[in-house]
Subunit: 415 residues, 2 copies
């Protein structure tokens, strides 16, 4: 495995001994002080070849063990990663692209990209000898943690606001998590989770505060590189809520360059809903020369999984995206719903609205010329449409009712 | 690829030139006369070694191209197969087994085992130059066909009874299928689909009538063998509705024996809901020396995907299961629901009720001593719980509501 050489604060740059602290830089605090896991890229660059990962024969993100902070011996049975990437030549042609790929991360054990983070975080808990885990979330991250803890056979504590949707909470309970419905806001649930984790010695997987999350999430970029045999696309589109997924993906590309396996990172574009665009706004301020500060805004969108008003990984997201030469784009709810209905019809991929937003972002960037004709692009589908079928299916037409006669079929076909 | 040497009627044994007919034996009719695809197992046995499949480096069922009737050059982008298998040592110990594996086929593109059949059937349509497909179904098979046709860019026609649940139909429409809501019974929709397919030249993927389905479905058995490095379990549990999935799985094991890669097939056990047990009853009659005849019975169970009263693959299912030395078992709806809530909690796998039935069947066979202590077993999870979350989650307790205070967390934990 990768043997980290330091955990570094993304804001003040201070370096800590690996594993000497679990979460964030004490100086910069839990929102600005998220940690980066650093490796000796020179040594890794000498050791790794384009076939190193295939030689492991692992059909999971553990094929990238050499670039991960935890070894496969700590992994739980559930298989995260090594999801398919689909080449879409027909759709590419229609959009004026010379190549388009869809990376379908709905095919993870709990049907979202979050399983990548959880796989590494739960393995870290086992490495560190922590016998229990926790997280504050009602969304894909909580489901993922609950599923992986069940697979690991370790207790899982989830903190949600009391108003969390019942079916989501029920799935957590089905996975055997102990769910605390906090009579307060999401932020109160988040803070109580941190406090309880510290008090009881649980390992906290909550978004951004745990540096293992980004380590797991970077593997999507490594896979894209490997599955496209080193021919990375010029543009990569990622839906953005808390900012952790895009931070991970951008870090993955950047590390491929650092170890000499790729020449350059794709331009990574974050896609946010117009009604929940705190990181896109922070990025705009950063472009104007302002400091990157945690931003709080109201959040409203159909795309549940990226409806985040108080993003936790804003510093990494803004910095890494800028380093890749990419940027941010916002899309309306109408564009998200249309994209979510276009994708299954055109490529057979049923994505949740948040994931479809990434495809909507591609269309927007093509329209405004940011992505030029003839370019190549990949879109990360970060969650399954089965997580929110009503959100995807709204407004679709009803089927045609016919009597059980061949002539009726003929009539419909000739219309 | 495997080059079939014959298509043989499972009832009268008559052999037809491969590809000389699409569906069933004209003599024995569409229910008794389903076809078996035969290969030259002697030649394959000389050619295949335990590493032949891994050498393809394909993370899909196309790694078994040598045992399939169609070549990978006809495959669509969507990736079916090569789903994970999870070893469950803790649960095995608790159940008195010396080994237990869960094969999670919910991680297929449209989240069910049916994608294996569809992948091969759609490839066959392309090989045969059929420009459109059809099926009668409201369930996983229809969703699967609609998704794969979208991926292939070919028209898809689905026939459903008018009473089909709206959300399922909406997903078909989202995948771009032309859905005919037939004002009649499911059987009328099935017959109209056959008739229209013949008339318009569509390739019909409806359950059982198309011999490609079983070819695709056998790959789950091949994978289990490969993933367990040739150490097959003694017992394999499969949920049974129409009978095609279990026919495919049993054929896969039998072919491994025929080509010399396995010494013996596991005993394959079909699990049916007590309220929808037509094949289990046909098996019982067969055991008493009666002929295997298509059977029609009323069907009622919470396990939607195996609620089949007029199973289409009864002859293959009964014969192949008998040849494996296995049998059938029925489980009540209460057992199915309990199994569906036990699985996620114990192994982190969220299965639809029909799939959980296979696990319920394992428990039943352990209880009645059919599966002895110390045995090894594998359970096929054939569909995701996200397909029917309400069916899985019914009756789970509500979460504990607490004020946002650490002392409240402590109180809950000490209860």
């Amino acid at each position: 495995m990768g043997e980290p050489v330091a955990f570094r604060c993304v804001s003040c740059g201070r370096e800590y001994e690996p594993w000497s602290l679990d979460y964030t830089c004490p100086r910069c605090g839990p929102r600005a002080g998220t940690l980066e896991v650093l490796y000796d890229y020179r040594i890794l660059g000498r050791r790794l070849t384009p076939t190193s990962f295939a030689e492991t024969r692992r059909s999971s993100l553990w094929r990238y063990e050499e670039l991960l902070p935890v070894g496969v011996e700590h992994a739980v049975p559930l298989r995260a990663g090594w999801t398919p990437v689909y080449s879409c030549p027909t759709l590419a042609r229609e959009l004026g692209l010379s190549g388009l790929w869809i990376k379908d991360d709905a095919l993870n054990p709990t049907a979202s990209y979050k399983d990548r983070a959880t796989a590494v975080a739960v393995a870290a808990a086992r490495k560190l000898g922590r016998g229990a885990m926790a997280a504050a979330s009602t969304g894909n991250a909580a489901t993922s943690l609950a599923g992986f803890c069940a697979s690991a056979g370790i207790p899982c504590h989830i903190f949600v606001p009391r108003t969390a949707p019942k079916p989501k909470v029920a799935q957590l309970i089905a996975f055997g998590a102990l769910v605390f419905a906090v009579d307060g806001t999401y932020d109160q649930a988040f803070d109580l989770c941190s406090q309880a984790s510290a008090h009881f010695g649980w390992y906290d997987r909550s978004a951004a505060v745990n540096p293992m999350n980004v380590e797991g999430k970077k593997t999507g970029a490594l896979e894209l590189w490997e599955q496209l045999e080193g021919e990375l696309p010029q543009y990569v589109l990622v839906p953005v809520g808390d900012g952790s997924v895009i931070s991970g993906i951008a870090k993955g590309f950047s590390e491929l360059v650092k170890v000499g396996l790729a020449e350059a990172s794709p331009k990574v574009y974050g896609v946010q809903a117009a009604g929940a665009a705190a990181i896109a706004h922070a990025f705009r301020r950063f472009r104007r020369g302002e400091a990157i500060l945690p931003a709080d805004e109201p959040a409203d969108t159909v795309a549940d999984s990226i409806k985040v008003g108080r993003p936790r990984d804003v510093v990494k997201a803004v910095r890494y995206v800028a380093e890749s030469g990419g940027g941010f784009v916002t899309v309306t709810d109408e564009e998200i719903v249309a994209a979510g209905q276009d994708l299954p019809r055109r490529v057979g991929v049923f994505a949740e609205p948040a994931a479809a937003a990434a495809y909507a972002g591609l269309l927007a960037l093509l329209r405004d010329g940011t992505i030029p004709e003839g370019a190549t692009a990949a879109v990360f589908i970060t969650g399954s449409g089965l997580k929110d079928p009503e959100g995807v299916l709204r407004g679709l037409p009803d089927p045609t009712v016919i009597p059980p006669e061949l002539s009726a079929v003929e009539r419909v076909l000739s219309q």
